[in-house]
Symmetry: C2
């Protein structure tokens, strides 16, 4: 990897690291003049240390393999993107991926202890270590989520967790989005942190029932909540009853519960298939990823409906309700000229809405190529400039994944970077 990157530097050729290529913001999208460095064959699990709850993997290792490797011993790897059976850990690190279980257990950055990286200039550097906190600047933290712009990880030390003794999944059926939203807030306010807490709207419910026929999702519900509760058996029993009570107090028509693995999988099946099912609703769809403060859920869903009407495109809503991470799926037909542009505009309006209520333009899919134009909606010039300075430290020639994250870097800016780097080289080592 270092040798390849060094050659790219020698000839000033941009390069882009790519794992499985499942990213949803185009972070691993190649440009015409660049070398694509694909990590798919770097699939070794380098070490497993159960006593200290850590595992070292190469970047091409598939997310779900990590859990498969340690599950026999009663452990698992928490971040679980929907694409977990195909996406790579290297890509997860680049995009700081989330998943259903990140409400309770945190996103990728909370599970990366250390990294061996190849810098954009081809040097091999170790970041972090084998223990959760490392002194000095948190370079591991800044690398995770930097979308390939600060280098390429070649070894990743992950934290693994002990599997819960007991797991229960609840499905609550609501006749209003407001009631479902209020339930989410009430559960968290009660001090219960579910393993996962997902909401799906009526469009999504019917889409998945059409496609995967769970026969568990009520087709006439305005919204359903899926709540996973994990922990000790006694703890799950108590929290299950508390969640059921809160759902009922908020007007849930029914609450289905599943404790055995088979039934739990069945309840999750619809949610996991939701994106795929949306493909059956219309020829194309555009998935957006934004975050809002939990308390703003009902208002934001209302506003998304207003935008949907205004633009004339139906929107299916599937999202990580517990941490306010929305995934509106805008349904459209790309064969109709101009549709894509309008849909992108609609997606942008949703992101701006998220920022307006104090949220974020990305929850777990990254900025990539898709959302860089919305960065100024969230960050001031000074904020973006500070990030660019950091980028320049790692990536002085601008060769590592150029044109991602930051809005339109200018050619002259890139050229200036090269010139500056020559100056910076004069600083002594310490």
């Amino acid at each position: 990897m270092a040798a390849v990157v060094k050659i790219c530097n020698q000839y000033s050729v941009p390069f882009i690291a790519r794992g499985s290529g499942t990213g949803l913001s185009g972070g691993a999208l190649p440009s015409e003049d660049s070398v694509l460095i694909v990590t798919s064959l770097m699939r070794q699990i380098l070490s497993v240390d159960l006593d200290n709850q850590r595992i070292i993997v190469q970047p091409g290792v598939i997310n779900s393999w990590v859990t498969q490797t340690v599950s026999g011993a009663g452990f698992y790897y928490a971040p679980d993107p929907s694409s977990q059976i195909i996406c790579s850990i290297g890509g997860n690190v680049a995009e700081n991926s989330g998943g259903v279980h990140c409400l309770k257990y945190g996103v990728t950055t909370n599970h990366v202890l250390g990294l061996k990286i190849v810098t954009p200039e081809g040097e091999i550097v170790d970041l972090g270590g084998q223990i959760p906190e490392s002194p000095g600047y948190d370079l591991t933290g800044i690398f995770v989520g930097s979308e390939g712009t600060l280098g390429i990880a070649t070894e990743i030390t992950l934290r693994i967790l002990k599997s819960a003794e007991s797991i229960c999944v609840l499905l609550a059926d609501f006749t209003s989005v407001e009631a479902a939203g209020a339930t989410v807030s009430d559960i968290i306010s009660a001090g219960i942190i579910p393993g996962g807490m997902e909401m799906m709207d009526n469009v999504s419910i019917n889409a998945v029932e059409d496609v995967v026929a769970t026969n568990c999702y009520p087709r006439d519900a305005t919204a359903i909540l899926l709540v996973e509760i994990d922990g000790l058996e006694v703890e799950v029993a108590v929290n299950k009853q508390r969640v059921i009570d809160i759902c009922k107090q908020n007007g849930a028509r029914s609450v289905t519960s599943a404790s055995d693995p088979e039934m739990r999988l069945k309840l999750w099946k619809g949610r996991k298939a939701a994106f795929a099912a949306a493909g059956h609703l219309s020829p194309d769809y555009y998935v957006q990823d934004g975050v809002i403060p939990r308390t703003q859920l009902p208002y934001v869903l209302q506003e998304i409906e207003v935008l949907s009407q205004k633009f004339g495109y139906p929107i299916a809503n599937v999202f990580h309700a517990g941490d306010g991470n929305l995934h509106p799926l805008i349904l459209f037909d790309n064969a109709i000229p101009g549709a894509l542009e309008k849909v992108e505009e609609l997606g942008g309006e949703i992101l701006k809405l998220c920022v307006r209520v104090g949220g974020s333009i990305s929850g777990e899919h990254g900025i990539g190529a898709d959302k860089k134009c919305y960065m100024p909606d969230m960050f001031s010039d000074a904020d973006l400039e500070t990030m660019q300075w950091v980028r320049q430290v790692f990536n002085p020639q601008g060769l590592a994944n150029p044109g991602k994250i930051f809005p339109t870097p200018r050619t002259c800016g890139e050229a200036a970077n090269v010139a500056n780097h020559k100056q910076l080289e004069g600083v002594e080592r310490f």
Copy 2:
């Protein structure tokens, strides 16, 4: 704050932010030619948002005030350094402070959502936001723990947690350090994450009994473990029994348990007073802070004893056993010429031992002025250089807390930084 920093820049005068000045690695130690910017009067709590579990404070706010502000509503702030009734949140952010409860809940960086900072050049920049994850580079993460070298925080958005329904503290009495260490590993391996898990050795036990007379700590124990279990009442009941069983299986002579607040405080009192009590054992003591993988506990404690004998200074051991964060207290008399130098050397040997077994030279006290000379034991030249590049991005003139974290920056290096900055200014904004 921005105006003061700008004036410092105008005259190229170094400046150092300081909160309560309780740091243990000298991070807020002024140099002769510098301006000390003391944040003690910036003590306002700016906003409390219980629904979204966050609070915005000024940097001079005392750590324990945060919990006091929200405890009536059933919330608390998790990081709890021993100095929590006097140390400031700004200082906690600078040093990425830990505490007893960080085993389960993480250190300061896991609880800072966003920051308003004054950069070392006097610009006001917002990092992060009001929600846990923000897109782009994680500048909040790199700022937390940067010990004042990347700027001064003026507003800090903290995550607050819901208080546990039930808390129980156990005190287990062991006749060997190995048995206590094995108990720690077994508890974690069983999938139990205690709210806190602390170990004290015989020297510490007797020191605190002499001073605060808890009358609960067995004076003839070789080591005691204090284990706090929190959660739902049913969960605490089950885990309490499991922990007691594990202690007994590892040969604990007795296990005392406390559930009512008064008795819990009594069990914690000795631990909380341990540093102060060490001051009664000898005229002076030097507290070290290192981290080791949990499984290395018995070996490392043995080696510390060997070093203690070799150098001829007794060492009291008090530490966060759950996360392998050691606090050896080296007892000595500073009035004896040469003693301090030998004690510092002994402290250094302990840090090198930590690194040798795969640990770290700092758990929660930072590097500051005290430990910068050990950074090369843990980090390669390339690692340190990368950190220095990042420092230079924020702190091009090197005026913000110079001479901390990094080993001996040379005057010519600092001068080169200034020259380079002039060049960097040529890069366009985006």
